[in-house]
């Protein structure tokens, strides 16, 4: 089957295979949900008193950190996609897909969309846990914004790590994928508002585009959802997605080099 319909089929099939791993392997989903949840709880238990410092606009550290964990969960799902692809390339499975008459964009779309779908699991897990433990209710608008931005960021993470996997073609690149995501999300106003950050991190957070995404997700949990906080996050996501998708597509097109 050729043409758009056939491509959609291919995209769907690839998404289904990626989701199979989640559905058919018991416990496969657990680390992805557990890690950010535990990080959220752990950081709250350890650094909860930071809200006493001047500059925090909330006295609930849990509400402050929950959005970070949400974004983390989304990026773990994205990074996992890249790591899995590196494994698939190493064992030769990916050759099967490359040799098939599926256009490269469709191939990428299938992989990235499945990552985004996967990210809904940790996003939901973190939200449910955080709210159950007393985080501020973000309102429906805050919730939608948070989930939407998280979902989109998962696509960014997936595209980036897919590009890395295609570049390096080995699972040894996994730390690079994980560390880059770690840095991207945490070298922001993750632990504290901009005013409370010190030294080099204050500077990095100010210029890190992901800070806008974290702030966008955080809005409802520490205050009101406003367009002025939302549009920068959207803009960053659009730009990052375009860049990362281009990076990944380039990798796909040169996969045989």
């Amino acid at each position: 089957m050729t043409g758009a319909a056939g491509h959609l089929d291919a995209v769907g099939a690839l998404m289904r295979r990626a989701l199979n791993e989640l559905l058919r392997v018991p416990g496969a989903a657990i680390p992805g949900v557990l890690a950010p949840s535990l990080f959220m709880l752990g950081l709250t238990g350890v650094f909860g008193e930071l809200t006493e410092l001047q500059g925090f606009d909330t006295d609930s550290f849990l509400s402050f950190i929950l959005p970070v964990s949400l974004v983390q969960g989304a990026t773990f799902a994205g990074a996992a996609t890249g790591v899995n692809l590196a494994r698939d390339i190493e064992i030769g499975w990916f050759d099967r897909l490359l040799a098939a008459p599926v256009p490269r964009p469709a191939l990428l779309a299938g992989i990235v969309l499945s990552a985004s779908l996967r990210s809904l699991l940790p996003i939901t897990g973190v939200l449910v846990l955080g709210l159950a433990l007393g985080a501020n209710w973000p309102g429906i608008d805050g919730l939608l914004v948070a989930v939407g931005l998280g979902f989109a960021f998962a696509s960014v993470a997936a595209s980036w790590t897919v590009g890395l996997a295609l570049r390096f073609k080995t699972q040894a690149a996994a730390p690079l994928m994980q560390a880059s995501m770690f840095v991207a999300v945490l070298f922001t106003t993750s632990y504290a508002p901009q005013e409370v950050l010190t030294g080099w991190l204050a500077t990095v957070a100010r210029y890190n585009p992901v800070t806008r995404v974290v702030e966008g997700v955080r809005q409802g949990f520490v205050g009101e959802v406003t367009w002025s906080e939302t549009w920068p996050a959207l803009a960053v996501l659009v730009v990052l997605l375009a860049l990362m998708v281009a990076f990944a597509l380039r990798g796909l097109r040169h996969a045989g080099d």
Partner: protein
């Protein structure tokens, strides 16, 4: 033919330890978690929560970085232990351990060799974070003696945690199972006074930290940097290591016995 006597086990332990370290440095995905992630976390904790020293109840310290070094060192040794466990499990999966089992060496040498390698990674971790601390402005109040205490305790802690990793590797024989405990290494540290003074933590983490052996190990690693060498802190540190070590050794011995009996 040579008989393997007690004296001749030492070279075998050494050779296996050497292999363990070489493996770690030749696999980026093993080395990175041990040094890279704790370093990144140190950077974030220091930059993000550094103002915590302004909190009234925060103890007198040279700086938040000085306070955090022990946590990073301990985290690195725990991750080194998990890495060692993954490598040991891979040896089972790939059949490399058959080579060792068919050789005239006592069974315990296989494990001790691996743990010796992990202990050396503990030394590497301690030296790494002490160096980073010094470069970024921390002060080791205990001087060279303090540094030595930190390095020695880190090596022992690495070996003790290595025992836990080895137990899981021997029991499961699967690298993916041991790999799955990486997040645990992060989490368990949150339930201790590694990152923040126990008095300033929130419940229930604060209570957990009060009884967590890791808090004692952290104390042993932290005192020489913040306040100088203290016998009490060293004892606490050794006590924490002993608790972890005993659990690890027991579980490893049981797992080994089960595996060899099943063979």
């Amino acid at each position: 033919m040579r008989r393997a006597s007690a004296g001749q086990n030492l070279p075998v332990v050494g050779a296996l330890a050497r292999r363990s370290i070489v493996q770690t440095f030749r696999r980026p995905q093993f080395l990175a978690p041990i040094l890279l992630f704790p370093t990144l976390l140190l950077a974030i904790n220091t930059g993000g929560a550094g103002r915590a020293v302004d909190l009234p109840a925060f103890p007198e310290v040279g700086g938040f970085l000085d306070f955090q070094l022990a946590a990073s060192t301990l985290q690195a040794t725990m991750l080194a232990a998990v890495s060692g466990g993954v490598a040991l499990a891979l040896d089972f999966e790939l059949g490399f351990n058959d080579r060792l089992l068919a050789a005239p060496i006592p069974r315990w040498v296989m494990i001790v060799g691996r743990l010796a390698g992990t202990a050396i990674m503990g030394v590497v971790a301690a030296v790494w974070f002490l160096a980073i601390g010094l470069i970024f402005g921390a002060e080791i109040v205990g001087g060279p003696a303090g540094a030595l205490v930190v390095i020695a305790l880190s090596a022992l802690a690495a070996a003790a945690f290595g025992g836990l990793g080895a137990a899981l590797a021997v029991r499961s024989g699967q690298a993916s199972v041991v790999q799955g405990t990486f997040p645990l290494a992060f989490v368990i540290l949150f339930l201790s006074s590694a990152f923040f003074p126990q008095e300033l933590m929130q419940e229930p983490a604060a209570t957990a930290a009060a009884y967590n052996p890791l808090s004692f190990i952290v104390e042993g690693l932290r005192e020489p940097v913040l306040y100088g060498v203290s016998g009490e802190a060293i004892l606490h540190g050794l006590g924490g290591v002993a608790i972890v070590g005993i659990v690890g050794v027991t579980l490893t011995a049981l797992a080994m016995r089960a595996r060899l009996r099943a063979a």
